[in-house]
Structure formats: C-alpha cells, structure tokens
Symmetry: C2
Subunit: 306 residues, 2 copies
C-alpha cells in the first residue's frame, strides 16, 4: 500500500517543471502539494508585469497549456500583438490575447498593493486551480546572464530576444529579494521536496539562492528529476550551458552534482548517475497522463527516503 | 466650380462627428483638414489610458470602424475582456483585443514622455490615416456629470457603466487643461470650422471650454451639423439632456441656440431652425459614401460664408 503524502513541495521553472507538477497534482490530494515557482524571469513588457514561469505552471495545472509549445495558452489568438507590432512596440515576446488578461489583471492587482503571492492565489482560483502555487518571492530577484560577446542581459532578453544564442559565462541574481513567508513555511513543513526537470541554473537556482531556502530545502529529503535525457535537454538551452558553467558534459550526473545533498535523481531509462542513486523512469511527458505516471513513480520511489 | 479649401477645422466627439469627419476627409485634400477631438471622456481603464473619441475618429478615418455599432473596431474579438471578467476585473467597458493594442501603445508612449498629440500622430501614421487628428489638449480635462440621484460621475461612469440613465443636472469640466498648441494654431488659421453632429454638452463643449478656443473658433465662420434629427438623437442620450440642461425640447433649433455666433446649421430634411439659416440635407450617414455626400454638401453651402 502506498503512503499517504501530506506535504510535498515541488520546485519548478517553466515547461518541464510544469509538466511534472501537473502530474503531481493528479497523484496527490489537493492539499498535499505546494509548488514553489521561479520568478527570476519576471519582467515588464508593454508596461505589464509578466511572470512567465508562474503562468506556465498555472496554465498547466488549469489544463490550458498547449502540448505543442512550451508557453502561453492553447487556442490562443494574437490580435493585440499584431497591433503592437503595427504601432512599432516590442513584438519579440509572444503575448496572446487571452494571456494578456493574466498580465493585465496581475499588474492591476500589484498596483492595488496585493502581493504577487496573493495575486497568484486569486488568478489560480479564477482558473479553477486547486493546488497551492507560490511565487518564490514577493520581491524582485532578476536572473542576469553574463554572456560572451553580448554583455550582461536579463533572462528574457537573453532567452527570447536573443534566442539563448549568446554563450553564457555566468548566471547571477540581482535584487536581494527574500523568499515569500509562505515559501519558507512550506519548505520547513515538507516531507519531501521534488526538484522538477527544469534548468538548474536559471530556473531552480533563483529559488535556492533566496536567503534560507537552500538550507531549508536540503534539510528535507530532496529528489530531482533530470532535465537532461541522453545528454540532451528536452527543451531549451541547458545542454549547452552545462559545459560552459560546470565544465563537464551535459548528463544526468552533472545535474546530480549540481545539487549537493540530493538524495536521489530520477533519470531517463538508460541514463545513469554515480554520485547519488539514479532511479530510471520514462521522464518525457507528452500528455497529462504521462505526467501523472512519472509523478506516481517518483512518489513511490521516494517513500524509501522518508 | 467649387472652391479649393485649404484649411478646414472639424470639431468632433465620437460616432456622429467621426462619420462626418470621414466624409470631409474624402471631400478635401489631405492637408486641408484638421480634426480637433474631444478628450474630456478620456479615462484610465485596466491601468491603460483610453481616449474613446480620438480612437473612434482615428478608426473611422482608417476605415476600421464597424457600421453597426459606434465604438471599437470591425471584426473585433474580446478574449482579453473575457479573461479580465473571469479574473474579477472591471468588465463594463468593452475593449476588444485589437483595440487593446491602441490603448497599450498609447499608454507606453505617454509613459515614455510623448504628448497625447504626438502619440496620436504616430498611431494615425501606423493606421495609414493621412488626416491630421488633434486631441484637444495634452493635459487632462475630465467631463464630469452631476446627476440627480447618483451624485457626480465621470463621463464614462455615467455613459457606459450607468448607461446614461441617471438624469443630468449639470455638465462641467475638471482639470484646467490648456488647448494643445497645434489646436490653437489650426483654429487660428481655419477658413471654416465645422462642428460635427456630436453631443454639444459632452463632446463639443469640452473643446470650446479650453481657454482661448471658444473665442478663436467663433472668430472664424462656423457651421454645425445638427445631431438632433426630428426631435431625436441618432445615437446617445442627447435628446433627454436638452430639456434638462437647456429647458427646451430637443430640436435643431436648440442646437443652434447652444452655439451663439454660429453662421448656419445643417439640419435633416424637414427639420428647421429660426435663429440662424438652416440648410436642409440628408444628415444620417450609414456608409462612407453617405458621409462624403453630406460633407460635400456642407462644404458647398459654406462657400457662401467665406
């Protein structure tokens, strides 16, 4: 008989993490899962506060994410974006019409003095998301990328505008933000922390960099799902970042080494790791059902740790 | 042979004025027409600066207005609005997705320090509008409505949110704005001023209330097109406002009396006026062609005045 989990915390960036999270939400009672989401990519666009990873997690949990691309909403239209391009405004970030209401509503809420945590809770409620989604911080912590050749860029400039092409020399976090109190409380009470298959440098490290969070997380049993499968990233620039930032080849083992104190790493069947136990599973999630299957496997394996 | 006009200024509110303006733009050389537009209805919505009459005039000149309703764009979608309603944000003002880009781009421009005049010129250029469209002011002048029973409301609150139902006791203009310098220059150089078939109290008076504008306008030959046809307003609450504010029945004559110094009033066939010459024409404009026909008739008649 499988364990009845009461408090699992998942750390998540965008797409990969969000796909695991939707599986965890199906595998766990609604009140047993808390998702802590990276906000280091947050930025202002068209005068609006955009929180890309929070949106991806929220939309994914609401069942509104497209399977074919990593961002935004399924069945989206882009009429406002067309207009903005016509008017000579920045058109490099693909905000859809429905998505736009999220950024407008969030910006209105923040302008009224709500915290990002409170606004996120309200948006989730409106979208029918029962899982607690916590932005890592109510302050600003911007992920900055020192590049070779293009200077220092914010994450979105580097990732979207420059298509993640400029080679990365260093990733750092600007702002000195604190973790949201809800995040600290959730981590402190976690039976298990699951690090989603997100980019460690630009999606998970921003969370762990907040004062007290790294220590709090690794005081709990922690497992990670490797975002590297057979030496490649499923999506995004991670595979090319590992050699530049860690000096090793992209591998599940490189991910395991990135997180000292990790108790186990979930790797794709056929992959391996040496520094911690490697749990082989099918880690590619092309549907909510595949997400749930992986989430249940991770939870079942993690029972041994707690 | 008809006169070659060099400098005609049209004063306009929303729909009615905009329909005449699109006709004047077809009847006159592009550099011979300047449209001065009411901004007393401007307001902030969803944190964006919305200038309803400027937009209606701009969209009308661009050939993008729907014939069936007075505001917004033809072939519009409302996905962002649906989202905003879902998120509990104000949904009473019908901003479409394409329209939203106008408000976003204008708000961005103002935030960068552009004047409303400069932003409007830029948006017009992008939409292919060759006519000079001038917001009446770069400052804020808010049209306020003292009502019986609902207190003092801004124009949009009264007109859209309360559907123009609360009886009007008084209309006044808050803010002490100045006319844009381009407006003063255009009026000073006008061979003819045409007051469009807009609501005198809430669409034209805000323009005339700006320091120096009333005197400048009535130092030139001025004709008005009556927004009252057979005792009724084509659109909007004007017919019910005239008895409350002028103490007379709604009629073309009431409009003529509202503008002392007027040289003539264009009235619907069968209507009349006594205080100034009444030029009978078909004044209902259901298509760009009907707008052009009326505009040509007004200009031909006005030759005698100058």
């Amino acid at each position: 008989m499988s364990r009845r989990w009461k408090s699992v915390v998942a750390l998540s960036g965008g797409v990969g993490g969000a796909r695991l999270v939707r599986g965890l939400a199906r595998a766990l009672p609604a009140d047993a899962l808390t998702v802590v989401v990276n906000t280091g990519d947050d930025f202002e666009h068209w005068g609006l506060y955009v929180s890309p990873d929070v949106d991806t997690v929220m939309y994914s949990l609401a069942g509104l994410s497209p399977e074919e691309r990593g961002w935004g909403l399924a069945d989206e239209t882009f009429r406002a974006l067309e207009g903005m391009r016509l008017f000579g405004e920045d058109g490099w970030f693909g905000i859809g019409d429905r998505d736009l209401s999220t950024h407008l509503a969030r910006t209105r809420g923040l302008a009224r003095g709500e915290t990002l945590t409170a606004v996120t809770a309200r948006l989730c409620r409106a979208l029918g998301v029962g899982t607690l989604v916590l932005p890592m911080s109510d302050g600003r912590c911007r992920t900055m990328i020192d590049t070779s050749g293009d200077g220092t860029l914010t994450f979105q400039e580097w990732f979207v505008r420059h298509r993640a092409e400029p080679p990365v020399r260093r990733v750092w976090f600007d702002g000195g933000a604190e973790a949201a109190p809800e995040v600290r409380a959730a981590v402190a009470g976690a039976e298990l922390v699951v690090i989603g298959p997100s980019n460690p440098y630009v999606s998970i490290d921003p969370i762990l960099s907040l004062p007290g969070v790294h220590g709090g997380v690794f005081a709990r049993p922690v497992v990670a799902v490797s975002p590297i499968v057979n030496g490649q990233a499923i999506k995004g620039p991670l595979a090319s970042m590992i050699p530049l930032l860690a000096g090793t080849e992209a591998s599940a083992e490189a991910i395991a080494r990135h997180y000292p104190g990790l108790r186990a790493i979930v790797v794709q069947r056929g992959d391996s790791a040496t520094s911690v136990p490697a749990w082989e599973e099918e880690t590619i999630m092309r549907s909510p059902g595949e997400s749930e299957r992986l989430a249940r496997a991770v939870l079942a394996r993690a029972e041994a740790l707690t």
